[in-house]
C-alpha cells in the first residue's frame, strides 16, 4: 500500500495569489494512497525541505509529490532532499502548479480545481514509480572553444592554465576577433592591440591548446562529457608546416583590390593574405573566391615567389573528428552596416561610417595609420557628428534592445577625434547616456568637459549630402525640440550590435537555444548566465548579447570555471531517465521481436543489437538494447515500438496512463 506525501508550495505569492493552496493540500489529503499533505510558503527553502524530510522519516512515506514550480527549476532540489531522508530520489515527482496553472490563469475556483487535478495526476504516477539509480559515465577531459576573439581566448587560456586540454576553432585566418580591430579601449584609452596580441601569442604557444584557424564546427554529436565534434579545416592553400610567414607571396600577389575585412572595407588586401600584420598564426591563406588562379585558371605568382614551396593549390577542405567533454561558445557579434539606415543614406555616402570603421581610422594599424581622414577624399574632417543608438532602442525600424557598448565607444571616438584633430568640432547625438561601469561615467564627463565634445540630446532624422558636406538634420530635445542642422565632414553611426550571420545555424547544430535576435540563450538570465540549456555547452561574450571587454572577459572566465569544475570529476552522474528494452524469463526473454524500427528512429544512435544465446552458444533471439551512455531519454523509440517492448524509465507507459486515468476517473 502506497504512502504518498503531498507538499504544496505557495511560491511566495506566485502560486497562492491565484490558487487556494490550503484547499489543494486538503483535497490531496483525501486522495487514495496519500498519507500526508500540507502546504508551505516556500517549499524550496531550508525549512520547507526539512518539512519534507521529516514527513518521509516520521510517516514512512513511499513517494513524494511536490506541487510547486517547474521540474526544470527545482526537481533536483526536492529529489536531493528526499534522498537525504532515505527515500530513493526518483520516487519524488513535481506537479507544476506555477507555470502550468497559477501564472497562466486568473484567480477563481476553476484554477484551484485544475491545481488539484494536476496534483492528483502526479499522485497516481508516483504510485507506479520505481526506485532508480543514477548512471555514471566517463568524462573526456578536453574542451572545445568555438571562436578566437577575446572571449574565446580568455576561456581557452583559463582552461588550459588549469591543466586541461583545449581545442580552439576560429573561422577567420587569425584569432583576435573584433578586439584586434579596435584602436584604444574605454575607459582607460589603453591600446587594444597592446593588451590583446600577447594573449593571442599565448594561445598559439600554449602546450595545452590546439589551435585550428580558418576552421568551423561541422557537426556536434554526443552529450556532456562525451561529445564528438567534427571540424572542417577550410583549405588554406598554404602548407603551414613549410610556410615561414615571410610575406613574399602577399607582396607579389597581383590581385590587390579586395576590400579588407579587418579594415572594414576601408583598406584593401590581396587574394593571398594575412588579415593584419600581428595575426596569429602569422601565415597567409588564399581567398579562393578572389584569387585569379582559382577564378581564371592562371597566375600562380605566389607559388613562383614562395621560397619554401608552401603554396598548395589543390588541397581540399579537411575534416577532423575530436572527442571532447565540454564546449564553450564564444562566437561574438556583428554590427549593422550603414546600408541598414534609409534616413542616413542607405550606405551610399562614403564618409558616413560605422563605429567599427571609425575604430580602423583611429587605429595606428589602420588604413590611415591612425589619422582621421575621410575615405572619400582623404581630407581631415573639421566637423564630425556621432550618432548614438543607430538602430538600437528602435522597435519600429531597428532593434528594440540597447546595444550597451555604444554610449561608451562613442564618447571614446569623440575624445580620440579631439585628441587627433585639435581644431576639429565634434557633436554627439544621443538618447540617454548609459555609462554604467567602473570609471565609465567619469570617462563620458571627461569627453564633454575636458575635450569639449558637444553632446546634443535628440535624434537625427536625416543625413543628406550637399556640396561635399553632410547635412545632419536633428532635434535638440533639451532646447524644446529645436531643429538642429550641422554641416559635417564625416558622420559616424554607432550602429546596433547584432548576432553573427551564422549564429542560428550553429545553434541548431549544437542544439542550444537562441533568442528572437539569434543571440545564444543562457540557461537562466540571472543564476546560470554562462550555461546553455544543453548540458556541457557553455557560452561567453557577445554571442549571448552585446557586451564590452571587461564583461566579456569576466564571463569567459566564468565559463572556463564551469568547464574546469566539470573536468575535476572523473565520472559524470547522469539521470537514469533513459529507454530500456524489457527482459523477461525464458522462453520469451523479451517482448522485443527484433524489428529494429527503434534503431531507425533513434536520433542519437543509442540502439544496439543484442544476441540472446543458449547454453550451447547458439543464437536464440536478437533483440534491441539501449546504450545508456548515448540515450537521451527522448522517447521516440517508445512511440515506434510495435510490441511495446521499450519504456522510458521514470516515464513508462504505465505511469503515463496512470496520470491520464487520474483525470478520466472523475
Amino acid at each position: 500500500m502506497s504512502k504518498i506525501g503531498v507538499f504544496i508550495c505557495h511560491c511566495g505569492e506566485n502560486i497562492s495569489a491565484t490558487v487556494d493552496c490550503e484547499r489543494v493540500a486538503a483535497e490531496a489529503g483525501k486522495m487514495d494512497g496519500v498519507e500526508f499533505a500540507t502546504d508551505y510558503k516556500y517549499m524550496c527553502s531550508d525549512p520547507g525541505q526539512t518539512l519534507i524530510k521529516n514527513a518521509i522519516k516520521e510517516k514512512g512515506l513511499t513517494g513524494v509529490v511536490v506541487g510547486a514550480c517547474s521540474p526544470r527549476m527545482h526537481e533536483p532540489t526536492f529529489r536531493k532532499a528526499c534522498a537525504e531522508a532515505g527515500l530513493n530520489p526518483y520516487l519524488c515527482e513535481m506537479s507544476n502548479l506555477r507555470e502550468h496553472c497559477s501564472w497562466v490563469h486568473e484567480k477563481n475556483e476553476q484554477t484551484t480545481e485544475k491545481a488539484i487535478d494536476l496534483v492528483k495526476m502526479l499522485v497516481e504516477k508516483v504510485k507506479k514509480n520505481k526506485p532508480l539509480n543514477a548512471i555514471k559515465v566517463p568524462i573526456t577531459k578536453k574542451a572545445l572553444v568555438i571562436g578566437g576573439g577575446i572571449a574565446g581566448i580568455q576561456a581557452a587560456l583559463d582552461i588550459a592554465n588549469a591543466g586541461q586540454q583545449v581545442i580552439m576553432v576560429e573561422k577567420e585566418p587569425s584569432i583576435g576577433g573584433h578586439m584586434s580591430q579596435l584602436s584604444e579601449t574605454f575607459p582607460t584609452l589603453d591600446c587594444s592591440q597592446c593588451i590583446l596580441t600577447p594573449r593571442m601569442v599565448e594561445v598559439a604557444q600554449h602546450p595545452n591548446i590546439t589551435l585550428y584557424t580558418y576552421a568551423e564546427l561541422e557537426h556536434l554529436d554526443g552529450f556532456i562529457g562525451n561529445f564528438k565534434a567534427t571540424i572542417r579545416l577550410k583549405a588554406k592553400s598554404v602548407d603551414y608546416k613549410l610556410c615561414t610567414g615571410c610575406g613574399a607571396c602577399t607582396t607579389k600577389c597581383p590581385n590587390k583590390k579586395i576590400p579588407s575585412e579587418f579594415n572594414e572595407g576601408l583598406g584593401m588586401r590581396t587574394a593571398i593574405y594575412t588579415p593584419f600584420p600581428q595575426a596569429v598564426p602569422n601565415k597567409p591563406v588564399i581567398d579562393r573566391a578572389n584569387c585569379t588562379y582559382y577564378q581564371k585558371g592562371k597566375c600562380k605568382v605566389c607559388e613562383k615567389v614562395c621560397p619554401t614551396g608552401a603554396i598548395q593549390y589543390d588541397l581540399p577542405d579537411q575534416f577532423i573528428t575530436e572527442d571532447i567533454g565540454a564546449v564553450v561558445i564564444a562566437t561574438g557579434f556583428n554590427v549593422l552596416k550603414t546600408d541598414f539606415f534609409p534616413e542616413y543614406g542607405y550606405g551610399k555616402y562614403a564618409d558616413v561610417l560605422t563605429g567599427l570603421q571609425f575604430e580602423r581610422l583611429a587605429s595606428a594599424s589602420g588604413p590611415t595609420l591612425g589619422e582621421i581622414r575621410r575615405p572619400s577624399d582623404g581630407k581631415v574632417p573639421k566637423k564630425i557628428v556621432f550618432i548614438a543608438c543607430s538602430g538600437s532602442r528602435d522597435p519600429a525600424k531597428g532593434i528594440p534592445y540597447c546595444s550597451k557598448i555604444c554610449c561608451m565607444y562613442t564618447a571614446k571616438h569623440a575624445m580620440l577625434y579631439q585628441h587627433k584633430v585639435h581644431d576639429g568640432e565634434s557633436y554627439v547625438f544621443y538618447m540617454d547616456i548609459r555609462a554604467g561601469g567602473k570609471n565609465y561615467e567619469e570617462f563620458v564627463r571627461r569627453a564633454i568637459e575636458d575635450d569639449g565634445v558637444n553632446y546634443i540630446r535628440g535624434r537625427v532624422a536625416r543625413i543628406y549630402e550637399k556640396d561635399g558636406k553632410y547635412i545632419v538634420k536633428g532635434a535638440d530635445t533639451l532646447l524644446g525640440s529645436k531643429p538642429v542642422e550641422i554641416e559635417a565632414d564625416m558622420v559616424v553611426l554607432a550602429t546596433a550590435g547584432v548576432s553573427n550571420p551564422g549564429a542560428e545555424e550553429l545553434a541548431q547544430k549544437m542544439h542550444v537555444s537562441y533568442d528572437a535576435y539569434k543571440f545564444f540563450a543562457e540557461a537562466h538570465p540571472k543564476l546560470k548566465p554562462v550555461e546553455t540549456n544543453t548540458a556541457g555547452i557553455f557560452l561567453c561574450g557577445a554571442c549571448q548579447a552585446p557586451k564590452d571587454i571587461p564583461e566579456t572577459v569576466g564571463m569567459a572566465s566564468g565559463a572556463a570555471a564551469k568547464v574546469i569544475g566539470l573536468f575535476s570529476n572523473n565520472e559524470l552522474t547522469r539521470e537514469p531517465l533513459i529507454a530500456v528494452v524489457n527482459r523477461s524469463a525464458p522462453p520469451v526473454f523479451s517482448t522485443c521481436v527484433g524489428c529494429f524500427m527503434c534503431q531507425t528512429a533513434c536520433p542519437y544512435n543509442a540502439i544496439e543489437r543484442e544476441e540472446i544465446k543458449g547454453r550451447d552458444g547458439s543464437v536464440i533471439k536478437t533483440v534491441a538494447k539501449v546504450n545508456p551512455g548515448l540515450c537521451q531519454g527522448c522517447g521516440t523509440c517508445v512511440a515506434f515500438c510495435r510490441s511495446k517492448a521499450i519504456d522510458i524509465q521514470g516515464f513508462s507507459n504505465e505511469q503515463m496512463f496512470a496520470e491520464v486515468m487520474a483525470l478520466m476517473n472523475e
Binding site: P342, E343, G345, K397, R462, Y464, E465, K466
Partner: protein
C-alpha cells in the same frame, strides 16, 4: 537603385474605380485632367465612384476618429457596392486616409461593425487602393518606355512628400526614407532624376493658410535644394505639395531672398508629355509658376 516599385500589386485589367477627392475637383483640376488623360493614353478605363464624399482629410482624424474612419469607409463601401475591386486615388492624403481606414477596420472587427452601422453599409475590406505610381506600374510597367514618343529629357527632383509612403507598415508602398517609385517612372519617361535630400520632407501642408511663413520656410528649403542641384522641374503626386511649392512661390522666394522659377508639375503631367500628349491636354497652363518644356 531597385528598378521595381516596391510592393506594387499585380493583376488583370478591368474597370478601375477613380476617387478624385475634393482637390482634384477644385484647385488641382489639372491633376485630375492629367491622370485621366494618361489613363486614356494607356487604355486604362477609369470609372468615377458615384456619390463620393470627402475622405475626411487631416481635419476629421484630428477631431474624431470614428468620423474620420466613417467618411473614408463610406467611399470604400460605395466602391464595393459599385462592383469595383480596385480604385485609383491620385491625392496622397486621400490615398493615405483610404488605405489606413481599410487597414484599421480589417484589424478590429468591433470597430468595423460600429463604422458599418454608422454608414449603414457593409464593407468587405478587400479593395485594392492604388496611387498613380502603382496604377502606372501595374498596368503599364515596361510598356512605358515603348509608349514614350517625346522623352521628358530634363533633370527632375522627385518629391514624394510625407503622406505617400507613411506609415510604411500600413501602406507597404516603396521605401520609407528614400523612395524610388517616381524616380523609376521618370527615368523610364526619359527624365534624369537627381539625388537630393528633401524627397520626403514636410512642405508645411495645411498651414498654407494659417501660417504661410512656416510653409514658405519648409517649402522654400525643398525648392532651394532642388534648384541648387540643377533640377529643371519638381515632380509631385500630391495636390497639397503642389500648391504649397507652386502657389506659395512668391512667399518662398521672399523667404529665400532669391528668385527661383523652377516649375512644380504632377507626375502624370510629365508622363503625359512624354507619351505625346499636348501641354493643354495635361493642364500644364494652370500652374502659377509657368511650366514650359521645350
Amino acid at each position: 537603385m531597385s528598378e521595381q516599385i516596391i510592393n506594387s500589386p499585380c493583376g488583370v485589367k478591368g474597370t478601375i474605380g477613380f476617387y478624385p477627392g475634393c482637390s482634384l475637383k477644385g484647385s488641382s483640376s489639372e491633376y485630375a485632367q492629367s491622370v485621366l488623360a494618361v489613363a486614356k493614353a494607356f487604355d486604362i478605363e477609369l470609372q468615377e465612384i458615384q456619390d463620393w464624399n470627402c475622405c475626411g482629410s487631416t481635419a476629421a482624424h484630428n477631431l474624431n476618429k470614428e468620423l474620420a474612419l466613417s467618411l473614408s469607409a463610406r467611399i470604400l463601401a460605395l466602391s464595393e457596392k459599385q462592383g469595383l475591386t480596385e480604385v485609383v486615388v491620385p491625392c496622397a492624403a486621400c490615398y493615405n486616409r483610404l488605405t489606413v481606414t481599410q487597414h484599421e477596420l480589417n484589424n478590429d472587427a468591433a470597430l468595423k461593425q460600429r463604422v458599418c452601422d454608422i454608414i449603414d453599409m457593409p464593407i468587405k475590406g478587400n479593395l485594392q487602393i492604388l496611387n498613380v505610381m502603382q496604377m502606372i506600374d501595374k498596368y503599364v510597367a515596361d510598356r512605358l518606355e515603348e509608349k514614350v514618343t517625346t522623352p521628358f529629357g530634363h533633370k527632375v527632383a522627385c518629391y514624394y512628400g510625407c503622406l505617400l509612403v507613411r506609415p510604411h507598415n500600413i501602406l507597404q508602398f516603396d521605401r520609407l526614407e528614400d523612395p524610388q517609385s517616381m524616380d523609376i517612372l521618370m527615368k523610364r519617361s526619359g527624365a534624369e532624376p537627381i539625388e537630393w535630400g528633401f524627397k520626403t520632407e514636410c512642405c508645411g501642408a495645411g498651414f498654407s493658410v494659417s501660417r504661410t511663413d512656416v510653409v514658405a520656410k519648409l517649402s522654400g528649403n525643398i525648392v532651394k535644394d532642388a534648384a541648387d542641384r540643377g533640377a529643371e522641374a519638381i515632380i509631385v503626386a500630391c495636390p497639397m505639395c503642389q500648391s504649397n511649392l507652386d502657389m506659395r512661390r512668391p512667399q518662398i522666394n521672399e523667404y529665400l531672398k532669391q528668385k527661383i522659377d523652377i516649375p512644380v508639375i504632377y507626375i502624370t503631367q510629365a508622363i503625359g508629355l512624354a507619351v505625346g500628349l499636348s501641354p493643354k491636354e495635361v493642364g500644364l497652363q494652370k500652374h502659377f509658376v509657368p511650366a514650359q518644356f521645350a
